[in-house]
Symmetry: C2
Subunit: 362 residues, 2 copies
């Protein structure tokens, strides 16, 4: 167990933006909520998954919907008290701790605010090791853990407890409820016991995010660019360096679809590159060559500052590096690739691990 | 307490079609379900509201959505067992009895099937004394009883428990859930205690429906037309007699809107009449003269057989009588008229009780 303070939150938020692979919204608003909660209730206990008792009831908390809507439609601050109350009443279980469902974006931060406010610990793990757009895209799903009972609540005080026949039905029903409730809601989902968490979670992703944040902001060695310190720390790949020349964006069925076109500079001068996204970055191509695909992580980072850029913040003329990172081994299984591989997102591309693609690169 | 058998069900279904004021779907499919359940589980206990203990937990059961969809998408037969299980678990209360939320259409019959199958009594009352299209249009709502916790389930096995901040929010959220779940769902709503039921329900509407059915089908006095026996029994009004010459229908936002045009025959020869509906018949006009409006009951009945006709079954050339009936006094209060009066349905007409309109008629 260790205590998380404001400084740690700042670093985790920065690192979570890298793990967010362009999606999940800027962790900024989540960070503000977490910092505000720490100021009011004190530092947050963060547990290693190994410290969670096997029979403890643990509950991922998150927002669902468009993060851009959340900014306009601020939470009333009591949603998670309502959610936990409903869940405890319905299951007869006492909630021991919370955790993030994903390690990127707003949802990497919200559970800190929940933990501080409710006086429960947060567990240093998540269900993706990154961010993904749909509810069934978590390692818990791969291991047969159900979304149900899922609790959905809005800032007005409406709430629903859902028991569904599949995690995909939870996605469908909760998605339309989210739209009806105003575009963003707070949820708890995949509530489970400690022994399930220990088997299925991706461990220590919050500490990883913190260390990524520290690598980016480290002031000790100013001869090295932040991007290089970070790449070195995460053992990642600089897939392409260039200048953004075009952004296409389209909103369909509640998702942000789009494409960023980048022309090479420095070592990539003369080349060009495209990054495709559906909320998260999914595929990066250099001409006809696939450089990386989901579920490996693809994040666009500012060349000078090393700060990760969400898809909303991509702008013409910005000089960037497309960074690639190996995903967790749980995503490289057959069911993992079926659930979040390029073909699920309608790309006619087989998944090949990023390290093999890089090795074979021209 | 009395026992309800197949014969009683036949009569109740027929009478419920009159109280259904054209909407709520043909009770036919609900009747089949009730009869099937009686054949399998035996006759159903029907209690007078006065026989329900004050602290007994009673639960209206119903379908929500388009009755026409229900016919295509037959219930799996276990929806209400699932609903009652969820509700008992969530509230910690044992369900003592069920009742219909409305006295017309499919929903007048479904609770009989539920009662037979679950081995619980049905209470001889409802929350409308007729049928209405929206969830908050019940006498329970007028007395501040909440829809929550509302349970929604589909034939696939998905279910939701909803706790909302208002009965109108229940309507909104359940309506979109219904559409996502395939257009029709089974629900429990306005669960309450015996003392609330006794204060807020409209009493003995199932017995009323049965007696209306008996009046229509009575074979004793063949000199009198069924329509006249029925009008006489319910102390109602023959508002207009004629032949249907035009039907306009439009489906918007999950409701059936429309208008039937009727040209007079017999005493009404030379006149013409229009009946407007939104699922249920709402307003009947003779030329510029308003003959009756919601919440008073307006039902179109076959001239020869006295059988009530739902809006779906209105057809060119059919000879009909437009029948008017006084609504329950609970609907004639300020809140009652606000909730279901003509202005709620966007008509620029004040509510005037049908007996005053008839008295003042030209």
């Amino acid at each position: 167990m260790r205590l998380i303070d404001e400084k740690a939150i700042e670093k985790i938020a920065l690192g979570a933006a890298l793990l967010g692979t362009g999606g999940g919204g800027d962790p900024y608003i989540g960070k503000l909520m977490a910092i505000e909660a720490i100021r009011q209730y004190g530092p947050i206990q963060m547990l290693d998954p190994s410290e969670v008792p096997d029979d403890a009831f643990v509950v991922p908390t998150a927002m669902m919907g468009a993060p851009t809507v959340l900014i306009e439609k601020i939470a009333n601050g009591n949603e998670f008290e309502v959610i936990i109350k409903h869940l405890e009443k319905y299951t007869g279980q006492k909630v021991f701790a919370t955790l993030p469902i994903e390690a990127g974006g707003v949802n990497s931060m919200l559970p800190f605010a929940v933990a501080a406010k409710l006086g429960i610990p947060i567990v240093d793990c998540d269900g993706m090791g990154r961010a993904f757009p749909e509810l069934q895209m978590v390692t818990f799903h791969l291991d047969g853990i159900t979304t149900s009972p899922m609790v959905v609540t809005d800032e007005k005080g409406n709430s629903m407890i859902m028991e569904t026949v599949s995690n995909n039905w939870s996605e469908t029903l909760a998605r339309t409820a989210t739209i009806t409730m105003g575009g963003s809601v707070m949820i708890s989902i995949y509530s489970m016991f400690g022994h399930q968490l220990k088997k299925s979670a991706i461990y220590n992703t919050l500490t990883l995010a913190e260390n990524i944040g520290a690598a980016i902001t480290d002031k000790q060695d100013t001869d090295v660019l932040p991007i290089d310190r970070m790449i070195n720390f995460v053992d990642g790949y600089k897939l392409f360096t260039g200048k953004i020349v075009d952004i296409l964006r389209e909103t369909r069925q509640g998702f942000n679809f789009g494409k960023a076109k980048i022309v090479g500079i420095n070592a990539d001068k003369g080349e060009s590159c495209e990054v495709d996204f559906q909320n998260e970055n999914l595929v990066v191509m250099k001409g006809d060559e696939v450089l990386a695909t989901t579920p490996d992580l693809i994040t666009i980072v500012d060349l000078e500052t090393g700060v990760p850029i969400t898809t909303e913040a991509l702008k013409y003329g910005r000089r960037v590096v497309v960074v690639g990172l190996r995903c967790d081994a749980k995503w490289r299984t057959k069911k993992g690739i079926e659930t979040v591989g390029p073909r699920y997102f309608k790309y006619d591309i087989d998944y090949v691990p990023i390290e093999e693609r890089v090795k074979g690169a021209k």
